[in-house]
Amino acid sequence: MPGKLKVKIVAGRHLPVMDRASDLTDAFVEVKFGNTTFKTDVFPKSLNPQWNSEWFKFEVDDEDLQDEPLQVTVLDHDTYSANDAIGKVYIDIDPLLCSEAASVISGWFPIYDTIHGIRGEINVLVKVELFNDLNRFRQSSCGVKFFCTTSIPRCYRAAMVHGFVEELVVNEDPEYQWIDRIRSPRASNEARQRLISLMSGELQRKIGLKVLEMGGNAVVGYLQCFDLEGESGLVVRAIGTACTLDKLSSGSAPNTNTHMHPNTAPASNACNSPSKDGKEPVFGEDLTSSSGPPTPFRALPTTSSSPPPFSPSKPCSRQSSSSDTDLSLTPKTGMGSGGSVGKEAGPLKTLLRQQTQTALEQREFPFFTLTSFPPGFLLHVGGVVSARSVKLLDRIHNPALGNTRSYKLLDWNSVTADEPETRDAWWEEIRQEIKSHAKALGCHGVVGYSESTSICEEVCILSASGTAAILNPRYMREGCLDIGITDHRFEEPSPPSCGFCHIPYDELNMPFPAQLTYCYHCRRQKVPDVLFTTINLPQEAAVTGKGCLIQARLCRLKKKAQGEVNATAISNLLPFMEYELHTQLMNKLKLRSMNALFGLHIQISVGENMLLGLASATGVYLTALPAPGGIQIAGKTPGDLSNEHHILTIQKRINDTIAKNKELYQINPPKLFALDPEVFCGINMELTEEVVGSPIPEPRQRSRLFRSHSESSDELSELDLSHGKKDAFVLEIDDTDAVEDIHSLLTDAPTPTGFYSCNTEIMPGIYSWTSGVQMFTSVRVFRLSNANLTNQGLNKIFTDLCENLLKSFYFKLRSMIPCCLCQLNFAVAVPEEELIQVAVTAVAMTFDKDQAQEKPADKSTTKGGSETEEQLQFPMELCADASSANTQPSSKISGVPESTNVSSRAASVDYGSFADRCSTWLELLRLKAHTIRRGSVKTSRRTQSLAHSVSSLEHCSPLPEGRSRSLRSNRSFRGSPVTVVKMTPLSFLPGTRIIKYLGIINMFFIRETTSLREEGGVSGFLHTFIAEVFAMVRAHVAALGGNAVVSYSMKECMLMENPNKNQAQCLINVSGDAVICVRETDQEPNPSMANIGQTCASGTDGAT
């Protein structure tokens, strides 16, 4: 009996009228946990009942505590007939089971009914008393913390990263049970909600057990998904990264992620064990030379020879041979790396590699769901690895399909769909493939790993993707707990700002064709020409200019088919889709003059008659990588004059676009490194010229030149000249398809001024976030009217759909300019034959328009020179301020924007003006309050207030500046007891510090209506539902004592409509981490951003 759950029902408010005669309600409440139910008294004739019930006590196993939700049902008492349900509240009590999370749940919860939506609110108090249970064989895993955040949560320190955990549970879907034919839609919906709640509880418990087994105490990057497989059942699966987390004392804040200067870091870290101190340098050294062959990736291991060389993933489809190929490759890679060791560094490297590998290889899957890492964790990144598999969902009691040939994608042998083993085996297969891909890239780990499915009828595409990487073994080793900050990190051979770009595979044995050059940053090791990853941009990475969202969109028609034929058709299409998406991405990347993609997410959705592919990523220019070549158009049929002319025009347009984009994203790599290697080693004259011509103040530039020159000189001999030539990417126009492609390439509208967008956590190149945050969800469904569509037509429609969505975001959020849309997460689906659904969740964040306002003079100079604002200003600023220039560590690469110094100044300006606005607003408020007071006293003065009434009305209306809201205005306005809860898909809120994680929010809702028209059509219906989901999430967070949700995401939004019957149904699954955050008050650098200093200053700026 290890737990006692106590519940008290306090009151209700805004209840709906249930008794038409009296216009009132006789409400009472049933509280149910497991199989025990308690009831409150009936509170007669009130819409705002005060039950003030006793404490209802449930004595339960902690296993149940983890699995079961607390179910609170509000009913209307009826003497003569059955009591009517008003609605329900499901409360997940998991957060109460962890000592570090919430201690009590108390607050107003919306009463939710699957047919009517929110119907009033109820105030509930929940507590749990846990007894210690040391039973070794226990089935519960209370105390394991769960985080959706895909990085080490702030205010924790990763003592140890254990690795991948996964689990799935399967059940029959209540919607498809026979009983569904006789029960009401409400009962069916509730059964489903309850079941899924139970299943996710169970899943979390099981994962928790695995974590305990591994010796961890937390799951980070917890990703839980539902597969509604229709008649074959309901799968709830989850993956995550098991860690041992230590809580940081509130004072010392999140050092783990803090980006520190190499010089200061060691000093602050006095607690290293001496033994480590002795040991580290050794590792440092050997890493230096050894970590050599890391590379980016550009195309995938072309293991299975059939798909074109670029395909970044191997659509795993059928050939079981594919995985064989991988395996056979693996040994080769191993040998290859051995060779390179001999050449470069000798035995130490081998040692390191072995250690690393053993540490990881003990694990079945060296996967990490994290996308951001503590500095030093990630040594090298190989590239994206992905695998897809098409499966037929076998129907229960339908073994007829089982007699076909043994085809990998059909698991005939597994018995019923209800057995999780089948699904486990499917995923196992895919993970193996990912693992072998990673090996082929010379990597022993996969980071930024995620899994997804797309289901249409009985066909299911399973996808997994991640980024192959070499990780720092220290995080993996037992007993080595002190890795939060290591003093020696920065002395490692590969500077943190470029180290991860270095190729991990062997140069002589490249898994795919890529052009390698020496790193443009450190000049010591090889880097690829392009790098694709699924992770966030590492904080320490050196980036030139700003990043931007890059999307590749694709539609492919397919014939309608059934069963195996359908599955085969799909798996045949997949490689081509992947290839085309990849080509599109590559072209768009070059068009923006960038050389790396982060946060790459490729989604392929299957519908009855088409496949949709959407790849989103954030493009950046990594300083360490070579500048991308342009795009060259070539015609296949020379001689045709008009054609040639046409090609020339296109070529010109492309060149113009590239130039425009360079300016837009401020991509202007430091001159020195942009030089071709030949030029570099060849003509020194040119270098000097370059210096003179450069608008960067001379002395500084010269020293920099000199230094880097000397640094790289010893390696000059090794430069591979053949790669020096920047290659132009050649596009051949030989048919209309190609023309279409190019057109689509050029039609991507640029983001309006003042806006940036990315799908990663933060925008590369923007560091000065202010606290304006607006999270939003938008859904669009497009109906294709014409059945005779071509691929091209479809592509255009799909592209327009996405582009228009973005345009409408920019328009809606125009009041937040300058702002950046972050973590733009697109989810596409084909809910019905002729429908395309796109759901987007993202956050708009305001930032400081940096130095522009402060130094107009500088700006003009900037315009004079062709240099970008940023680049010019930094050096100038540093020079002007001699002392700060002096303190610059000599190793600093000045090409990297050094924003810390500058931003605090810029901010102060903005803050001042803001304070002004703020005070006027407050004054107005005071004025208003005054008027009100006057009004209550009847003196002749009132005449005045009346006389001015009209004009004062205008004056008093809230200022248009949305951002000038102070918290104080909260208080001055009567009764706003509703806590403001901010939501964001990011792992942090700018301008604030997370001081406590209260537990995971994982909610599943169903809403159904039989009066679609009356609710404003599908749009009205979904609008209300999404607003209700937000409201319920906020209420739960507030009840836990939190004021924000981070890492929020909408996992599922499944809408089914039948306008003819006036019906619609929608399922939404959301998750996130409930947190308490406080405004940054001290000058502590914010973990995510080098310079949060000013954000805290503008703390009053509380736009929510």
Binding site: K812, K938, L946, S957, T1104
Partner: protein, 356 residues
């Protein structure tokens, strides 16, 4: 090919004040889009008509969902469905309960009953206010009146803060006052007066002639006129019945005015008539029926004669000031306090009502 569904939901509810106003004014989505296009938002953010349409639809939907909450403003503050910053909430309520002057002018003095609702169409046609907006404003009246009427005890104390805000916003109070006394405002001769004129006058009456006006301690927002005062007003009759007093008053005023205005001759000629008119209005105010005719009397007895003599507003000011002040010099006139209390209101009302 069509967008079948299009929604955008922010964690903080996004509301555009301009669109809100269009919605309140009863524009249809398409009309609103047109207005916005003409307003030039499109250039602001490189938007297209589609984007504007989609945004307008979204906002209209949001407002419709909010409307239920706006009907009981106190709910808006503690509902959970929309996260709206407090100052936005205040804006929503203020604007929702705002009235078109043209509309109010029509409703002024009418009994708020079902009958009027049928006339909303007419009012709409006459004032150019859309029917939808008329309906909203009318329903708001009834809603607020219901609240005010149901309250017992001191009005200002018990009134919900939001309603209080509305009362002070200068519209509800005059309306309530006018409805209470059923002032005649609809006559043709009064048509030229705007609601603002009436609202101002109501304010004057409330702050000077009601019970609370004298005694600051009375917290009751009693909009009844001070009965005692009205009785005392009868005493002013002496100014016109006593011939000596009348002549004396006239000569005092004329001395002061001589040479200061072009309209002097007309003033001198008309003095007795005008004075009689004003004092008679005062003397009749004990009669509820005559209170109703207060404004029409002012116009007929004073404003119209002056206007036919082409007095300027400045003339009017000058005349009334001296008319008021000279009475104090009359040694046989004892009712200075009552006179002042009366004239303060009369003066400011006439100033307001006298349009050049």
């Amino acid at each position: 090919m069509a967008v079948e569904l299009d929604v955008f939901v922010g964690n903080t509810t996004i509301m555009d004040e301009e669109v809100y106003q269009l919605w309140l004014d009863g524009y249809t989505v398409n009309d609103a889009v047109k207005v916005r296009m003409e307003g030039g938002v499109m250039e602001e953010c490189e938007a297209s008509a589609d984007v504007l349409l989609s945004d307008t639809m979204d906002q209209y939907r949001t407002f419709q969902m909010c409307e239920r909450l706006l009907h009981s403003p106190s709910k808006l503050a503690n509902q959970l469905l929309f996260q709206i910053p407090p100052n936005r909430q205040a804006m929503l309520i203020e604007r929702y309960y705002a009235f078109d002057d043209a509309f109010v002018r029509e409703v002024l003095g009418k009994k708020l009953s079902k009958g009027t609702k049928k006339d909303l169409d007419d009012i709409g046609a006459k004032t150019g206010v859309t029917l939808k907006s008329c309906r909203r404003q009318f329903d708001n009246f009834k809603r607020v009146f219901k609240v005010v009427e149901e309250l017992k005890g001191p009005l200002v104390e018990n009134i919900p803060p939001i309603m209080r805000l509305l009362l002070i916003s200068g519209i509800m109070l005059p309306l309530f006052f006018f409805a209470n006394h059923r002032f005649e405002t609809g006559k043709r001769k009064l048509q030229y007066l705007t609601f603002q004129d009436f609202a101002f006058c109501a304010g004057q009456l409330i702050s000077n002639w009601t019970v609370g006006a004298v005694d600051n301690m009375v917290e009751d927002m009693d909009v009844d006129l001070d009965k005692e005062f009205l009785q005392e007003l009868k005493e002013l009759k002496v100014l016109i019945t006593d011939k000596d007093l009348l002549d004396q008053h006239k000569s005092l005023v004329c001395t002061a005015l001589r040479g200061k205005t072009k309209a002097f001759n007309e003033m001198e000629a008309n003095f007795k008539n005008l004075s009689r008119g004003l004092v008679n209005i005062a003397a009749k105010l004990t009669n509820t029926k005559d209170v109703r005719d207060f404004f029409i009397d002012l116009v007929e007895k004073f404003i119209e004669p002056c206007r036919s003599d082409r007095w300027t507003a400045a003339d009017m000011r000058l005349y009334l000031t001296h008319y008021n002040n000279s009475a104090h010099i009359l040694d046989t006139f004892k009712h200075q306090a009552v006179w002042d209390r009366y004239m303060v209101v009369i003066k400011s009302c006439i100033f307001k009502m006298y349009h050049d």
